[in-house]
Subunit: 206 residues, 2 copies
DNA sequence: GTTTGTGAAACGATTCACAGCT
DNA sequence: AGCTGTGAATCGTTTCACAAAC
């Protein structure tokens, strides 16, 4: 199958949450137009995005909310559970660990690591903060799907290297630092500074 | 001037942090190639991005780290301070308020709002959590540049409406909800669920 | 010799517009 | 009649490749 653009995948995720909202409102059928409004795009874009994966609608009618949501979960790979390991037991990790959306969507936090002796051993939401020096060995023995970097910027590359060594196939990086990894490793960045700076650019003449 | 693509602005922000890293290493001149490596792109892309704003390099030599950083700060509008108001005094707000990068880059948190009587009045990093019911009046009297939504998803639209009413020109939304605002208001989303779901898509066949 | 700045070419994503189902 | 699915057209972004500057 043709490689799917990242922008398309992101919209599929938005369509899925729109469908879940429709579902909770008891709406059973939607048009591409309705999905577009909720997902911040156009009806043609919705239809094109879906068409990469098959044809899920009924002409003249629209899409079944339930059936399309199920198909999107399939497409996005959300039928299975994902195991996460956090590195960095700071405030940001605390906020993320507490976020109910993770568990709900099948993302399970399996371990939290830190280097700070004061943090190691602390209980975190049923988990014990582990010593980061054992990260590679422990994650090799007990693999996870996604490593979440929530350390300061200057440790981010080191942590990424260790996650790669441990065989972690995907990384979600919250540290404001670019990290380099082998091509086979999937990396997503959440960079708050960058988001604020794009807003700054937008506001520069206000 | 031609409208600049969002992707370009985001890269400029990455180039700026790369330049700051070079600066702290005492490097005074960089090539587009060096910037590209740090910013995760190509040298041609770097030169093209910069060319929209002028010509800042010396042929055969490269760019002055200091001079280019200054120009990028100008371009991104980072010479001025920005005033932020947070809405939602939860764990995520706690993590963000504590994040030193905000102050360093000139983003000053001026107020934190919540609806929870238990939180109103609490001291947060030198600020007092304010009653969200006074948000519109107070932000009209004391305007901010950016409203940061850190509430649960189901309050996000309501908060956005109030920020718009208060005349806030830009919103950074951490709630996992699409929000609709007038076109004149700039909105950026940081949606953790969406990031995880794109990783899920990437991992789906592992 | 090296590296920038930039038109032109290539590529990729979005929008259009309509035939084909229901 | 209404809405999907999709090739074709359009639009925008990235890459190429090289002349110009140092």
């Amino acid at each position: 199958m043709r490689r799917i653009a990242d922008s398309t995948v992101r919209r599929l995720s938005l369509y899925l949450s729109a469908l879940e909202a429709f579902e909770s409102q008891g709406i059973s059928t939607v048009s591409s137009e309705a999905l577009a409004t909720r997902g911040g795009t156009t009806s043609a874009q919705v239809r094109k995005d879906l068409s990469f994966f098959g044809s899920f609608g009924k002409r003249g009618l629209g899409y079944s909310v339930l059936a399309l949501a199920t198909r999107l979960r399939d497409i996005l790979g959300l039928r299975r559970k994902y195991r996460l390991a956090f590195v960095g037991a700071g405030k940001m990790a605390g906020a993320l660990v507490n976020y109910r959306g993770f568990q709900q969507r099948g993302f399970h936090i399996e371990a939290i690591y830190d280097v700070d002796p004061k943090k190691i051993g602390q209980a975190w939401n049923g988990l014990t903060v582990r010593n980061a020096k054992n990260l590679v060995a422990e994650l090799r023995a007990n693999p996870v799907d996604i490593g979440v970097i929530v350390t300061p910027a200057d440790s981010a590359q080191d942590v990424a290297d260790r996650l790669v060594q441990a065989g972690v196939p995907a990384i979600l990086n919250f540290a404001p630092a670019q990290i380099s990894t082998p091509d086979a490793v999937n990396v997503k960045h959440v960079n708050l500074t960058l988001e604020l700076e794009t807003l700054s650019y937008a506001l520069r003449n206000r």
